[in-house]
């Protein structure tokens, strides 16, 4: 369990402000944000490596605000691994074990157990200078896990790995996390990773958390245009909301029209005035002709180009302004979609999220 309450700190000219975050025991938390937003500093604050100015940090039920890093029981894996260059792989993994009067045999057993679990037993006697990225990553992970921390902090652990290794490492990490019940807080700039791994997501910008929630919540309901753009919601449209009908049963919301250059959409709104409309690419349904349905927006569009990404195909559209739709590759083939085609893009009023 990791809890940060109104944590503030300053490193040089860089500042973290009012950071509040809660990752439940055994949970997997993700901090995402662009580089320079303070993600790594946040991890270092949890580990006790960056002294905080205000607020409180609780780890595993204990207030560790004033505890030095060596007594927090928190493991850290940095983005660039930072293996000790003057030690072998085995001595790197065993580094955290030597201090606490571990018997030599016990220590060796632990090192071998971890290395076997991570598939790096054959590397144990080697130096660390010539390891591949994936190997170094595993060694760094084993080293952090060796003293059995209750909490693991990961700084962009997959950033410098090739896609196949990244997939393996994600799987490995998930397994480690689930089998050992470790609480994990990971920093990433990749929202897909958050969707795949996280129970809790916090989006950071300029030293503050701008939104937190489950990945689904953040992805579906970004609370600002910044978050929407950052998490890769491809269609973020700035425009104006005007009321078009009276409030429904739920009195907070009402039917409205959202207008932007060359585009008018029926939406469900809770306020009038300037807003951003967020439409997920997979919520744009493409068809050859329009099916009459009052609850839907029908947009005449021209296919500009198509991008195939495995089972999904991204379709770039011009519907008076550019939009991105995602359809299954199979249906794109069935429809015989091609650049230059005139089609109809349909989106439900309820699938348009206004922020």
């Amino acid at each position: 369990m990791i809890r940060l309450e109104a944590v503030g700190l300053r490193v040089g000219t860089f500042e973290l402000r009012d950071i509040t975050l809660d990752v439940p025991r055994g949970g997997y938390g993700l901090v995402i944000g662009p580089s320079g937003s303070g993600k790594t500093t946040l991890l270092e604050a949890v580990a006790g490596l960056a002294p905080i100015k205000s607020g409180r940090i609780t780890v595993q039920g204990e207030d560790v605000t004033n505890r030095p890093p060596e007594r927090r029981g928190v493991g850290v894996v940095y983005q660039r691994y930072h293996l000790f260059p003057h030690f072998s792989v085995a001595d790197n993994i065993g580094y955290g074990l030597t201090q606490s009067r571990h018997l030599k045999a016990e220590r060796q057993a632990r090192v071998h157990e971890l290395a076997a679990g991570l598939g790096i037993e054959h590397l144990l006697e080697r130096g660390v200078r010539h390891l591949s990225g994936g190997e170094a990553q595993r060694v760094a992970l084993a080293r952090a896990l060796a003293p059995r921390p209750h909490t693991l902090l990961l700084d962009e652990p997959f950033a410098s790995l090739d896609p196949a290794t990244r997939q393996d490492m994600r799987h490995l990490l998930r397994t480690v996390h689930e089998s050992q019940g470790i609480t994990v807080l990971q920093v990433t700039h990749d929202f897909d990773e958050a969707l795949r791994l996280g129970d809790v997501v916090a989006v950071m910008a300029d030293g503050a958390i701008v939104q937190r929630g489950t990945p689904e919540e953040v992805f579906r309901y970004p609370n600002s245009a910044f978050v929407a753009r950052f998490i890769g919601a491809a269609n973020v449209i700035a425009g104006m909301v005007t009321r078009s009908g009276s409030a429904g049963i739920d009195t907070r919301t009402f039917p409205a029209e959202f207008r932007s250059d060359g585009l008018a959409l029926d939406v469900i709104a809770d306020r009038e005035g300037p807003a951003h409309a967020v439409v997920q690419p997979e919520d744009l349904v493409l068809s050859r002709e329009s099916h009459a349905s009052s609850a839907r927006n029908h947009l005449a569009a021209v296919v500009l180009s198509m991008e195939r990404a495995g089972p999904l195909t991204y379709v770039h559209l011009d519907a008076g302004r550019r939009l991105l739709a995602a359809v299954t590759t199979q249906s794109a083939e069935t429809m015989g979609l091609a650049a230059g085609d005139r089609i109809v893009a349909t989106v439900k009023a309820t699938a348009i999220h206004l922020v």
Binding site: G12, E44, A47, G48, L49, P68, P69, E70, R72, V74, G75, V76, Y78, R80, H82, F84, P85, H86, Y95, G96, Q99, S100, R143, A144, A146, P147
Partner: protein, 259 residues
Amino acid sequence: MRRMQWGHLLTAGLGAVLVLFIVGPLLRLLFRASPAGLLAAFQDPELGQSIALTLFTATTATAIGIVLGVPLAYLLARTRFPGRRLLQGIIDLPVVVPHPVAGIALVLFLGRRSPLGGALAELGLEFVSHVPGIVAAMLFVSAPILVSGAREAFAAVDPHLERVARSLGDRPWTAFRRVTLPLAGRGVLAATVLAWARSVSEFGAIVVITYNPKVASVFVFDRFTSFGLGAAIPAAVILLLVALAVFAIVRLLDTRELE
């Protein structure tokens, strides 16, 4: 292509002049000493004493420099604080002070008539014309070499390594001892040897503060002015050999680091 080759030739030619200029005088000196003269010099108790004194004072000055300067070097490499650049400038200051000027300043600062020198003399620690004066002069001229060398060695060790060590259960001192010190150790040692060599080769500041007892450089100078070139050569050769030995050790440490 041809043009570049001419450029290379020119560079090599100019460089060769400089290399000859360095090697020439030293070789000439080495071969000018007659075996008989060297033998006599080795048996000269005064020369032996002055070399022993030089090694002793240089080692003492270096030891003091390590105690006072290496922690400071670590601080300069690792932390950001107001006035850090100024402090670094002050440490480097002795490099630009002409050595006799440094000697005069030290005499004024540590002489019996200064408040500090007077107080220390009361306690039995005299500098001017005494051995501690030699150590003070050596420390003054060698401190910048030791501190900046050690600072660079520490700065070359990624600070994240120490942070990882802390997260794995090390106290600050343990993390320093297990991670930073082994990784910076060779660089710090090289800086130490260079500072020691600087102390051994010092003349200008020492000759002002403590002419007697004579360190080796003062001894050579004294032979030269009192008895002429011929009398100075054997002592000069022996001093040169000591310097070359130190130089060889430093180079050995350096190449090991490169591998």
